[in-house]
Symmetry: C2
Subunit: 204 residues, 2 copies
Amino acid sequence: SIPEATVPRLSRYLRKLQEMQERGKKTVSSRQLAEAVGANPAQIRKDLSYFGEFGTRGVGYDVKTLVEELRQQLGLNRSWNVIIIGSGKLGTALALYRGFEKQGFNLVGMFDSNPDVVGTDRGAAPVLSSDRLEQFIADNDIQIAMVTTPADAAQDVIDRVVAAGVPAVLNFAPIGATADQPVILRQVDLSTELMTLSFYLDKS
Amino acid sequence: SIPEATVPRLSRYLRKLQEMQERGKKTVSSRQLAEAVGANPAQIRKDLSYFGEFGTRGVGYDVKTLVEELRQQLGLNRSWNVIIIGSGKLGTALALYRGFEKQGFNLVGMFDSNPDVVGTDRGAAPVLSSDRLEQFIADNDIQIAMVTTPADAAQDVIDRVVAAGVPAVLNFAPIGATADQPVILRQVDLSTELMTLSFYLDKS
Ligand SMILES: NC(=O)c1ccc[n+]([C@@H]2O[C@H](COP(=O)([O-])OP(=O)(O)OC[C@H]3O[C@@H](n4cnc5c(N)ncnc54)[C@H](O)[C@@H]3O)[C@@H](O)[C@H]2O)c1
Ligand SMILES: NC(=O)c1ccc[n+]([C@@H]2O[C@H](COP(=O)([O-])OP(=O)(O)OC[C@H]3O[C@@H](n4cnc5c(N)ncnc54)[C@H](O)[C@@H]3O)[C@@H](O)[C@H]2O)c1
């Protein structure tokens, strides 16, 4: 099975390879790719080895083949339906961002518990009441829920979308969120990012 | 030296320990803390061992002592000055978020290159022109720059703030940003987060 740390690296390799492809580059060595992403060549060879044999010794990797393989592995050859729960500052910034659609992540609904927010347009269709969450999930094929509610509401929202059948959650609320297997749960914690900076600042 | 993956975990331990402290819990075992954060007890003992001997066999850790130690290690006993470059959707959401100030991260300035944005209030003092970036950094003691510009402007902005003496950068633009040692550079890549979800969705 594939180490958890490998997967985020694949999308960094893909981004650089797509940039090379746009510039007309046909082949790339693991050393060149390593320099472009700021990784080491052995790590790249190991990460890619989980998916098959791609490079030819002395020639390197075929850029087009590798782009197609990574897109396939990252599930980018299909589109995924996304909902956002919590249509405040962060939820709205995410809804208005056009970068996700380009990769096949389609925002199909936004929810909020505040009656003043419900019905407003925050980037997708009008915001729906979070009371309608279960019905909306039952009526639509939702794969990803982004949770941008306050911390005290987040675990309850996660439990609700998981119980309603959403298989993957990206949580932005600063809690140690949990969800039972096989739900795919990832946490973006911006406070932790800042604390990681201050950890190293403190030591330097 | 401390493994890079350990540092973000420390802030997760701290968050749970502070919650326990608020509930009046005096001691905690590595097993109880592991359950609370969704980690394993051996990982916790190993992570904490980099900073000294804290627990007593059979009794566990003293919650208050551990909270103070982790706050110290994470550099949270002082405040840090933060600037945001790129005052669009994401930059504004970050500026309006009050959670960072509570941990000692003070937003002291916002910048943008668009004349229509300059002078507006996006959460901190009025947005300044990015032409004034170097002068502002020279006049103030800035430790952290958050970069929320479009991808094609981000590396140039990072190079400018680093040359002006800012020691740490948190980049949100989806590029493989680089900065010379000893600059502390971390990347938040929301597209990578979604692609990591789709990787696992594709496999399930
Ligand atoms: N804004 C940021 O840059 C930022 C940074 C770090 C972390 N966060 C985290 O992201 C989350 C959102 O932050 P924000 O700044 O957008 O907050 P916000 O207050 O602007 O938005 C939260 C929204 O969630 C809604 N809400 C509350 N309970 C709900 C529920 N049960 N169901 C549905 N909607 C509900 C509120 O009505 C509000 O519109 C918070 O947990 C915050 O800690 C935000
Ligand atoms: N909004 C999101 O949720 C989201 C999600 C993922 C990634 N991102 C990334 O975050 C960054 C910001 O996204 P956004 O949605 O806020 O974009 P945005 O267009 O709303 O904001 C970008 C701001 O940067 C300013 N700018 C451009 N060049 C600049 C320069 N050289 N110096 C200073 N300011 C400059 C623009 O005038 C604009 O106000 C982008 O790189 C985007 O890819 C955003």
